[in-house]
Amino acid sequence: MKLVIAMLMDGMIYASWLFLIAAGLTLIYGVMRILNMAHGSFYAIGAYAGASLVGFYLAGGYPPWGAYLVLLGAAIFSGIIIGLLVERGLLRFMYGRDEVVMILVTYAILLILEDVIKLAWGVDAYFAYQPYTLLGRTKLVGLSYANYDIALIFISASICFLLWWGLNRTRQGKLLQAVIHDRDTAAFLGINVTRMFTVTFVIGAVLGTFAGALTAPGISVMPGIGIEVIILAFAVVVIGGLGSIGGALTGALIVGLARSASVHLYPEAELFVIYGVMAVVLAFRPQGLFAIATARKI
């Protein structure tokens, strides 16, 4: 019983972390057909911005609760800047290229941003653990969990809901759905696709920096953290079906639970579990679980 609850809790926490990273990735893919490797850099930039600003804020002796707002502000601010820079400054010149070429384009951006981060923040680790420890912990069947991690589950769920609501219940969201469904027709109907792209990319980037900023308190922020998460996020969205928010959620849950089951029951398999799940899912559902259907007229 204790083991089952531990497995579920660990799986949920890990899944909510994965979803935070994967959400922006899948949104950008869904709308723009760009599998954005630079999403890893956005995550890293969010983590650096969050950790350094929280450190700066707390060093000023301000009330510790404000640190959460600082994290949020850092994520939004850095996400908007980097998103606009990358989309307006680079990507818009490459629209219409092959999807695989776009992966390489964003890979190049990832390489560049890796060094930009190093130049901006150096290679020393940044810590901002105060927000992580401040919330205390909860005991659950004899196991302690950090309340911050539990909060992460709710934050992820809220983001998921917000994205769903935004896409399905707002005018802008419906226009975006039209773009997702058929870009050419949407443009023909007078939807400003270019602006939609910019807005989507910035939202996706902010989701990425937000994931980084929320992760920062629990880790040591240092070079290379972005590259480590990107393949993980890829696996999640591919399992779920590229471009689908629900798919990202399902993918995150499957990977999260599979991983925690493996850690508790068979730690040997931890390294394979994600790729194993991905291979199994793709073997039976070649387009992932919730693929966006593409019909072809002949």
């Binding site: 204790k2 083991l3 531990a6 497995m7 809790m9 660990d10 799986g11 926490i13 890990y14 972390w17 350094s52 450190g55 700066f56 060093a59 890796e114 060094d115 190093k118 130049l119 901006a120 923040w121 150096g122 290679v123 020393d124 680790a125 810590f127 653990y129 992580y132 420890t133 912990r137 004899g142 196991l143 302690s144 969990y145 950090a146 911050y148 991690d149 992760t215 308190p217 629990g218 880790i219 040591s220 922020v221 240092m222 070079p223 290379g224 953290i225 590259i227 480590e228 998460v229 991983r259 925690s260 850690v263 508790h264 730690p267 040997e268 931890e270 390294l271």
Partner: protein, 429 residues
């Protein structure tokens, strides 16, 4: 914060400029290749501290201002010109870059290599090119146990020594030791560390249970599930050879969940986080520094100079990679100068090699004896202690030293079989 930010930017700017502008070489300059991680996850904890230490020591050496007996200029009077290289890209890439260093850039010797994979791949090339190469940090004992190299030396202790000493330490200091658990990274260093620790503990004390062995992916960063598994499978001691960001993340996440309240963590590389996470490490945590480095280093003139100079230059005290880098450079200097005395003039590489073999010298971490691997592998004493706050300052208590002969297999025996056979001929106090 912003000042340090600005300082870092200028510093990196300087690095860029200095790297771009090729220094003009005088004919008798000593060109030294220095290979450490400058990008990726190992740059922050290892590569950059080692590079910083190298810069500091080379500058001081060139000015002839190091404490005695190192107070002669450069290496054998020749000014040392560093050539820095990133260790990223994998072993094949590094074998290739090593050739470039020697054949294209014409370095006289190379000091470097943090990754064990690189330490296994590079020596073969070094032998071909007959170039003196000092491995300063990598941990795998396989380098000299599986091969005989002529031109390659390792001035740092192996990871086996760490873990055998760690087993001794908990066997001696943990009362009622019944069980251990392990969390190590899923790669060679993690596997070997756990195997050495667990194997030697079995030899020292029968009947210690292993409650769980966790091997998360390197750079995973998220250890929630592993921490739960460690809680469910509670043990007296949790062994971990995590390093850098992984170790720090594990500490943060474990502390926040109270993992260390009824279990003691044994962190073989924990010393490097001591100052950065001083209020997050639970008191009583067992810390190692992969040798007598950092806080465990002896109080000598050389160490005092190094600590002070490094701290004032870079803002933090030096960690073990920095110590090991200095140790490597000083070994090279001493061997070269000893060879010069022997031959009365500029020594050939072969002269330096024979001078280097079985060399004994003092590094900032104390005595280094090149007495394994036919004189090519260093041994040093091992030190462990427990973390404690003294007057609110991070410190270590209950420090124990283990002689090199106690934690190192005798010449000609591999670490694995030595531990399997019950560590024969170990000379412990």
């Amino acid at each position: 914060m912003f000042r340090s930010f600005a300082k870092k930017s200028t510093l990196t700017g300087l690095i860029l400029v200095s790297a771009a502008a090729q220094p003009i070489l005088a004919a008798d300059d000593y060109k030294l290749g220095l290979v450490t991680f400058l990008s990726g996850g190992a740059a922050g904890p290892f590569g950059i501290p080692a590079q910083n230490a190298a810069k500091l020591v080379l500058e001081t050496l060139n000015a002839g201002q190091l404490p005695a007996p190192y107070n002669t200029t450069g290496i054998n009077g020749r000014t040392i010109v560093p050539v820095f290289m990133d260790e990223a890209g994998g072993a094949t890439k590094q074998a290739s870059e090593y050739r470039n260093l020697v054949e294209r850039q014409g370095v006289d010797a190379v000091v470097g290599y943090i990754s064990s994979g690189d330490c296994l791949a590079v020596p073969a090339v070094a032998e071909q090119l007959k170039t003196l190469t000092v491995l300063f940090d990598c941990g795998t004992p396989r380098v000299f146990e599986e091969n005989d190299f002529k031109y390659v030396f390792r001035t740092g202790p192996t990871a086996t020594m760490d873990n055998v000493a760690a087993a001794h330490y908990i066997n001696e200091t943990v009362e009622g030791l019944k069980s251990v658990s392990g969390i190590n990274q899923n790669y060679s260093f993690g596997h070997e560390s756990w195997a050495d620790f667990n194997g030697s503990l079995n030899q020292l004390k029968a009947g210690v249970d292993v409650t769980t062995e966790q091997f998360p992916k390197i750079y995973a960063g998220q250890y929630g599930a592993e921490i739960s598994a460690l809680m469910v499978n509670s043990a007296n001691v949790i062994h971990s050879s995590f390093w850098g960001g992984d170790m720090e993340a594990f500490l943060l996440q474990g502390s926040a969940r109270g993992l260390f309240e009824d279990q003691t963590a044994l962190l073989t590389t924990g010393e490097s986080a001591m100052y950065r996470l001083s209020d997050q490490i639970p008191e009583g945590t067992i810390l190692g520094g992969r040798g007598p480095f950092g806080v465990f280093a002896p109080d000598t003139a050389l160490n005092r100079w190094f600590r002070e100079a490094y701290t004032s230059e870079f803002g933090t005290p030096p960690t073990y990679p920095a110590y090991k880098m200095v140790q490597g450079i000083l070994g090279l200097k001493l061997a070269t100068e000893k060879a010069a005395l022997n031959v009365n003039g500029q020594p050939s590489t072969e002269d330096v090699v024979s001078a280097f073999e079985y060399l004994e010298y003092e590094g900032p971490g104390g005595k280094v004896s090149m007495n394994r691997g036919k004189g090519h592998q260093a041994t040093m004493e091992m030190v462990y202690g427990r973390y404690a706050l003294q007057d609110g300052k991070p410190a270590v208590t209950d420090v124990r030293h283990y002689a090199a002969a106690c934690v190192t297999p005798p010449e000609g025996m591999t670490s694995v079989s030595w531990i399997e056979k019950g560590m024969p001929d170990a000379q412990c106090d």
